[in-house]
Structure formats: C-alpha cells, structure tokens
C-alpha cells in the first residue's frame, strides 16, 4: 500500500502544552484511529496537518510533497471534519454543500439532485432551516458530508461520532469502510473504544503530547483488547482507587 501522509518529528508548543516529536504515517486503503485522553494532543496534531496551527519543527509530507502553510493544492485532496467546526451558519445544509461543490470545482447542475438525496438520507432535508438552528449532531452530519463530498484521497475526522445518533453513526461507518476500499486513507480521533475496535485497522495512542504506542487492531486484540492497551499506556489503572476517593469527598 502506498503512503499518503507522513508526519516526521512534528513538535508544537503553546502555553504549558507541548506536542513532542510526533511520527506516524497513513497509507492508502487504511483506517487509522487516534486515541488518547482529553487534552492529550489529538486535535492539535490534526490541526497541524490541516495547517490551522503552524508547527515548531518537523515535516508533514503528503503524497511525496512537503505541506506548506496555506497549501491550497493539498487541501483540494483532503476531506476534513473538525471537532467543533462552524459551517457558514446562515446557509442551509444544501446551500453549504453547494458552496463546497463550487469551491472544489465540481459541476453544480449534475450534483444538485444528488445533494438533495444525500441530505434526505441524513435527515437534513428541511430546505428552509439555517445551519445555526441545527443541533450539535445535525451540524456534525453537515460537516461530515462536507468532508467527503469531493471524494478526497485523505480523510481526517476529529471526533466524528460525537453527538451522532446511532443509525447515522452506522451509516457513517459503512461509508468510511467503502471509501477505504476505494483507496482513501482515513484517520479519525475518538474516545469511543467500541467504534475504534470495529472501524480501525491501526491505532495510534497519544498522551500528554507524546506518542505512547501504535499497533494494529488484530495485535491489540490478541494482547487483551483496546481497553487494556489504553489503560497500560495511559496509566489509567487507578480507576477503582480514585472512585473511592471521590465518594469520600462527596460524603464528607
């Protein structure tokens, strides 16, 4: 499988937070899950790939070429779903997708009916509703559709299943698997271990701004499963002890 994206020794620091020497790659036809506790550096890493933040050092290589800041060509081949993105709020879902189609240079007349159909499948077919009136989950759906609409080579999804209803989550998972089979490389971050276990081929674990480990799902399952992998690498063994402490505080 060909390598689509490679991160080499990427570091970034701001305030008291430091992301240290992150190395990983994503290949064609592969789904990689980015796992880690809150504040571990998952979103920061994703934003470094998307150029929302500038790296302090290291290299990001996309299909053999270095990615520079504001790299328009790079973005043409990437689909990105931010964790808390704000689509243009005064457009309807259809108008927003049509806007993206225009930006990506896809012919609008051919896609209008298809957009309608897709929105109806995702339960977003109210033509008059502006995005600002949408719930968090509905906004996530719009962002997901915006990320995949141009059939990207690399799909980057930051917590894509947050606030998503079960039937849409199942639909999204199937779409991702189909895209993967078509050659797309996918990286997504998530806290939901069950989804990671079912969807990902490989897992990268990050904690306190450092890459703690990496492994294929098959290997991880052999060694006791994803929960055990997570607990070992993030020192999350004190759950029982901490539970007792909190109950004590409440009672006192």
């Amino acid at each position: 499988m060909n390598e689509i994206l490679k991160m080499k020794g990427v570091s970034k620091s701001f305030g008291s937070f430091k992301l240290k020497n992150i190395d990983f790659d994503i290949k064609e036809k592969e789904i990689v899950a980015f796992l880690g506790p809150n504040g571990a550096g998952k979103t920061t890493t994703i934003k470094l790939i998307m150029n929302g933040l500038k790296k302090d050092k290291g290299e990001i290589i996309f299909m053999g070429s270095f990615v520079n800041s504001n790299d328009v060509d790079f973005r043409r081949h990437i689909g990105y779903m931010p964790e808390s993105g704000t689509p243009y709020e005064f457009l309807t879902a259809r108008e927003y997708l049509e806007f993206l189609i225009g930006v990506y240079g896809i012919e609008k007349s051919k896609s209008r009916e298809k957009i309608k159909e897709v929105l109806s499948i995702f339960n977003l077919n109210d033509e008059k509703k502006h995005i600002r009136t949408y719930s968090k989950g509905m906004k996530q759906k719009v962002l997901f559709l915006g990320a995949i609409i141009h059939n990207p080579k690399l799909l980057i999804l930051d917590e894509p299943f947050n606030a998503i209803e079960p039937q849409t989550a199942m639909l999204m998972k199937n779409i991702l698997l189909e895209m993967k089979n078509d050659g797309c490389g996918i990286i997504f971050s998530s806290h939901i271990l069950e989804i990671v276990e079912k969807l990902a081929d490989r897992v990268i674990l990050i904690n306190n701004g450092e890459k703690m480990g990496e492994g294929s799902i098959a290997n991880i399952k052999e060694k006791g499963g994803l929960e055990e992998f997570f607990k070992t690498l993030t020192n999350a063994y004190q759950v029982d002890e901490n539970t007792e402490k909190i109950i004590d505080v409440i009672k006192s």
Binding site: G15, G52, R75, R76, Y88, Y104
Partner: protein
C-alpha cells in the same frame, strides 16, 4: 469558484444574525444617509457647519464598516477551539480576501447609488412655504460627479480598511480579549495619523466658527479631530515616538517576564496571582464576579487612569496628558467591557441555574461594578478635562435652560444607559434567555457603537439648533409647523427612558445586598 464564494458571502450577509443586522444598518442605511446629507447639503450651502463634521464621520464609519465586513477571516484564538470553512477549503487566503473586498465594494456601490436616487426623490417632496427646496433633477445634477467619485472612494476605502483590518488582525493574533480589541483602537490611531490633514481642517473650521462646544466635542468627528490635534499639536513627533518606544519596551518586558512565550500569550491575566485572592467579607458570588473583572492589567489601568486624572486636575496646563488619558480610557474601556461581557462560549445560565442565587442579585452586582468602576472614572476624566482644558479656552457654554442642560449632557447621560438596558433585557449576566438565545459580545459592542453614532449625531443637531437660527426655522417648519415639539418630545422621551434605566439599575445594585433566607 467566484460564484460559489459570492453566493455564500451574499447569503451570509443578507441573512446575518443580530450583530450583522446592526452592521447592515450601519453600512446600508447610515452610511448612504450620511454621504447623501454631506453631498447634497454642502452643494446647497445650507447649514454650512454640518458638512465637514458629517464628512469626517462618514469616513470613519466607512473604514470601520470595511474592517468589520471581513469577518470571514478567522482568528488564532478561534483555531484552537473552532474551525471555519475558510481554514480547510482549497481557497487561497489572499484570494478570499480580494473576493470579500470586491463583494463589499460592489454591495456598497449599488446601495449608495440606490440611496442617492431614493434620497433625491424624498428631498423632492420637501416643500417649505410652498417652495420645492430640492427639485429632483437639480439634486441629481449636483451629485452626478459624486457617482463617479464614489466608485473610487468606495474601492480605495474598502481596500484601505480591509488591509488595515488584516494587518491589525495579524498583530493582534498574539493577544486575546480586551487587548485584542484595543488593537482595533490602535488601527484608528493609524487612520488619524494618515489623515491628519482631514481632521486638522475639520478642527480648524469648527474652531474658527466658534463651534467647539460639547455637542461637537462628543461627536465622532469632533472627538477624533480634537484628539488628533491635541495629540500632535501639543505632543511633538519626537515626544510621540519616544513615548511609543517607551510603551512598547514596557509591554515587551511585561510579556517577557510574565508570558515567557510570545506567540501564545493569552491575555495577561493568565499569569497573575491576584485572581487567587478572595475578599473575606464578601460573599462567594461577589468574589466570583470581582475576580472575573479585576484582573491585574485592569487594576494597573485603574490606578494609572486615576493618577492621570488627578495629575491633570492639579496641573491643567499639561495638555499632552489629555492624550494620555484618552489612550488610557480607550484601553480601559475595551478591557473592562471584555471582562464584564461574557464571551460567546461562556453561558452563566447553566451555572446560575444550578446554584441558589437570584438572577436579580447577579444583575445588581454587575450594575454596581459598572457604575462604580466604569462610569465613575469616565465622568471624572470628562469633568477634569472639560473644567480645565476647555474652560481654559472659554469654549464651554454655561447652560441656562433645561433644554441647554439636556443638550450639554445628553450624550454621556444616554450613552451610559445603553449597557444597563442591555443587561436589563438579557438577565443572568447576558447568558441565554428562556428561549435558548444568547447575545454575543460582538452584538453588545455593535449596539454600543451604533448608539454612539446615533446619540452623538443627535447631540450635534441639538447643539446646531441652539446656536443656528436658520436651522431652528428649518426644524420648526417640519411636521406641519410642529417640528420643534415633535423633536423635543423625542429627545425628552430618550432622556426619561435613560433616567428610568439609571434609577432602576442603581436600585438593583442596592437590592443585590438584600439577603434571602433560601438564597446566597
């Protein structure tokens, strides 16, 4: 792609939220009206003192609207928590910027042209003593040269405003909160410096015609002109450069010591210990509100501000200090407003609904802080400046009648009621209301700016009325010879409304100390 961007801009712009609606009023109603009044009234030679004031006002409004129009560009602080489409779609930032500029230019040009024609039609209907004052064709022929000149003015105004806004955003990316907003003020200072001649002319005309009264002083153009002239006439360029270098060195050392990291300093208050202090005799709720507002920089500014006011009161001849007070008050204004209004992500409703505190108590506390720490220093500064600098120049008239008194104090009295009325309409510390809607900080700032423009212009016209018999005659003949009573009723209504807001807000502050058995 151009079509896609234009469509998105257009739809976002036309639909907009409350904040953008107000911006639309500013750009699409007030700007054409001001340009129109300026062009038509100048050419007719009527009320010869108005044009320059309006002209300068138009210019500033124009620059401001251009800058605020480019709201699609994201800010560094947002990138950590939010993503906007412009960050991840394959569009070059410079290209997007040019498209936005083109969009605003075309929009403004069309709107202003349309307003010229409709304005000419409205003026055509004015009959005084049976005589048509502004015949349609005559008005059109008068403003014909402007139609061509306007394209030039709008394009370069937008270009200048846009680039200026862009540069300021780049600079202010290093800061957040009130300091970031202060960077916008810095931009205005640059505008003043670049267009100094403009303001000097305005100031000169007003001074020669004896029009340096409070109405003019408080208008946008008046304040800007006086500020610029005081600054540059009394403060020579070497002094100015030296003070700027000293301030910059101070800022750098402050950041160097406290922030350590240049790029990601997130407002000074993150690096202060004062926030950990509690005032023991006050309730936890009071401590919460005080801690939120009184950060180290605000305390430093209050001290500096008070010291400057005292110094001017003692040594009134030191006119350069007025400029320093002006700058300190602007910084203070922005930092204070930033602290007193929660950001779009803060929603105190959820906190306040969970704890046993009455919303009236919270609002009363906010009002108390507003009156004591915000209005009081401002009025003190104004009092010292007016009673020293301007009585020194024998320009300040003594009010003899109630109308004159109202005209003199109309602006500070009514403008200071804007924030309390916003809080009254949006209780729970501006958090979301029962319908789930929350006013943004941007909305509040735009309301304040619009109120200032409206009130300052109304004050200007009131003062015009008091000193110009020709204008008195014109006003009286409006509304079927009842113009004076109509406008007087309107002004008195605003004054009494402001009075009601002030009294109820101060009352709510005192009531906030009232303890309830079941509440904190």
């Amino acid at each position: 792609m151009i079509q896609a961007l234009f469509t998105a801009y257009y739809k976002e712009w036309v639909r907009g939220g409350n904040g953008r609606r107000l911006l639309q009023v500013l750009m699409l109603v007030m700007l054409p009206v001001m340009i129109y009044l300026f062009s038509v009234l100048t050419s007719q030679g009527l009320f010869s003192r108005i044009p320059m004031v309006l002209n300068t006002g138009v210019f500033i409004v124009f620059i401001a609207s251009s800058i605020y129009s480019f709201s699609y560009r994201t800010e560094a602080e947002d990138k950590l928590t939010d993503d906007f489409p412009m960050d991840f779609i394959p569009v070059n930032q410079g290209y997007a910027f040019l498209m936005q500029m083109a969009f605003v230019t075309i929009l403004l040009y069309i709107v202003v042209l349309l307003s010229f024609f409709s304005g000419a039609l409205i003026l055509n209907a004015i009959l005084i003593d049976g005589k048509r004052m502004y015949p349609f064709m005559q008005t059109l022929s008068t403003i014909k040269p402007l139609i061509f000149g306007l394209a030039y003015t709008i394009f370069f105004g937008s270009l200048f405003g846009g680039f200026l806004g862009s540069i300021v955003k780049k600079i202010s990316d290093n800061f957040s909160g009130g300091l970031k907003r202060f960077a916008l003020i810095a931009m205005y200072v640059i505008v003043f410096m670049l267009f100094r001649k403009y303001f000097t002319d305005s100031y000169g005309i007003m001074s020669n015609e004896g029009f340096l009264v409070s109405g003019y002083m408080f208008s946008i153009s008046g304040l800007s002109s006086v500020f610029v002239n005081l600054f540059f006439d009394e403060f020579s360029l070497p002094q100015f450069s030296a003070s700027m270098i000293a301030s910059a060195a101070l800022l750098v050392s402050y950041i160097g010591v406290n922030g350590k990291k240049w790029k990601f300093i997130k407002d000074f208050e993150l690096h202060t210990d004062l926030r950990d202090q509690n005032v023991k005799f006050l309730s936890p709720m009071w401590n919460l509100v005080l801690k939120r507002i009184f950060t180290t920089p605000i305390i430093v500014l209050v001290t500096l501000y008070t010291a400057l006011i005292l110094f001017v009161a003692i040594a009134p001849g030191f006119v350069a200090l007025y400029a320093a007070i002006g700058i300190a008050s602007y910084v203070y204004l922005f930092m204070f407003l930033d602290r007193i209004f929660p950001s779009k992500n803060e929603n105190y409703r959820h906190i306040l609904d969970m704890i046993p505190v009455r919303k009236e108590k919270v609002n009363g506390m906010i009002m108390g802080i507003y009156y004591i720490f915000f209005l009081l220093p401002f009025f003190a500064a104004n009092y010292v400046m007016m009673s020293n600098a301007f009585t020194m120049q024998n320009m300040l008239p003594e009010p003899n009648t109630l109308s004159q008194f109202i005209a003199l104090y109309f602006l500070p009295f009514t403008l200071s009621a804007v924030i309390p009325s916003i809080f009254a309409a949006n209780p729970y510390f501006l958090s979301e209301n029962d319908k789930g809607k929350k006013q943004s900080r941007g909305f509040v700032i735009i309301v304040l700016i619009l109120s200032y423009i409206f009130i300052s212009n109304l004050t200007l016209f009131m003062n015009m009325y008091l000193v110009n018999p020709m204008f008195q005659d014109f006003v009286q003949k409006m509304f079927w010879n009842n113009g004076y009573y109509v406008f007087k009723t309107f002004v008195y209504f605003i004054v009494f409304f402001a009075l009601y807001i002030h009294i109820s807000s101060i009352f709510s502050f005192f009531m906030s100390f009232k303890e309830n058995k079941n509440t904190v």
